[in-house]
């Protein structure tokens, strides 16, 4: 909400933006450690392992681990957690580095195979 109090416009509540700057969550990093690439439709899942002693799980790491108890595509994870894609990728890099998350189905590169195309075609035709 914004309000006018005679001294110009003030930003209140959510309009004022997050209390913590987004990339503070990633300690300023904009790319994942280890050069991992996380495709939009890659599927990730929590491994159930415990973090090593030197690794400090942040609240966002915990939220991701919670959502990833079941396999989930990264684009859905990002939408659900409501953080920008780049931030989620950095956090996923931390978690895969610790063995807490793994990518179990990567998007086909460069292009999907015929069996997946057939599945998509059948799916669309049955709509």
């Amino acid at each position: 909400m914004t309000s006018h109090d005679g001294h110009g416009e003030r930003w209140l509540d959510q309009e004022a933006g997050p209390v913590v700057r987004l990339y503070a969550l990633t300690k300023g990093r904009t790319l994942p450690n280890g050069g991992a690439s996380f495709g939009l439709i890659d599927v990730v899942v929590a491994t159930g392992e415990r973090p090593s002693e030197h690794f400090r799980l942040g609240p966002e790491h915990r939220r991701i681990l919670g959502i990833c108890r079941r396999p989930i595509p990264i684009v859905d994870l990002t939408s659900e957690i409501d953080l920008p894609l780049g931030v989620v990728r950095v956090l996923l890099g931390d978690l895969t580095g610790e063995g807490l998350i793994k990518v179990i189905s990567a998007q086909r590169q460069p292009v999907p195979d015929q069996s997946l195309l057939r599945m998509v075609l059948n799916g669309l035709e049955s709509l």
């Binding site: 904009t30 939009l40 392992e49 595509p73 409501d82 999907p112 015929q114 599945m119 998509v120």
Partner: protein
């Protein structure tokens, strides 16, 4: 052992197959309408590199490390019973979002380029991109009320398309029409794969 247990759990959990299709075209041509006609729309936050132009708008004094700003976009999701999820990504229209296209295009089945007969030139940028990138695409002519109707061949000429690129008429508001467009794209991609590569050089 814990390890075995977690592997068993993982094997039991269903892993969805995922695929994506891009929806491109000029501003206001009906990308969001098309995606919304056939799929559940979900929000996605992403980021945009701060360009020279936006530096004047977003004051970056004292925060020299800040190189991106967050932007919102939407995507569509269709879940099929067979553990398959198809995502529809509308490619951001404004040129400042070009950085997102590579991310969206990698691993995609292909793209639907929506054309409006009143301003066909608006989809040249998308066509150029997909041709350069080797992403298969079809043209879907969104038949707006009051817009002049043309034959598919006229549109093909206006867009200087390769002869094999399908041109289909559609109404982005109609679910069945959109379904036909997506089916046309998937069939086109399947057929072009099953034939020997006819790559023209030069």
């Amino acid at each position: 052992m814990d390890l075995n247990h977690s592997d068993d759990t993982l094997a039991a959990a269903s892993v969805p197959n995922t695929a994506k299709i891009l929806i491109a075209g000029g501003f206001g041509v009906g990308k969001t309408t098309l995606v919304g006609s056939i799929s559940e729309i979900r929000p996605l936050r992403t980021e945009e590199p701060l360009s020279e132009r936006s530096v004047g708008v977003d004051s970056t004094r004292g925060v020299s490390a800040k190189t991106t700003t967050t932007v919102a976009m939407d995507f569509g999701r269709i879940s099929f019973q067979s553990q398959l999820v198809l995502y529809l990504f509308g490619t951001p229209g404004q040129e400042r979002f070009w950085f997102m296209w590579d991310d969206l295009a990698i691993g995609a089945i292909g793209a639907v380029v929506i054309a409006d007969t009143r301003r066909v030139a608006d989809c040249f940028a998308a066509i150029d991109y997909f041709e350069r990138n080797g992403t298969p695409f079809i043209i879907a002519v969104n038949c707006f009320d009051g817009a002049p109707r043309f034959e598919a061949d006229d549109i093909r000429i206006a867009l200087t398309l390769q002869p094999e690129v399908p041109v289909v008429m559609c109404d982005a508001r109609e679910r069945d029409s959109v379904k036909k467009v997506l089916v046309s794209l998937v069939r086109y991609v399947m057929n072009s794969r099953s034939q020997p590569n006819q790559v023209s050089i030069g």
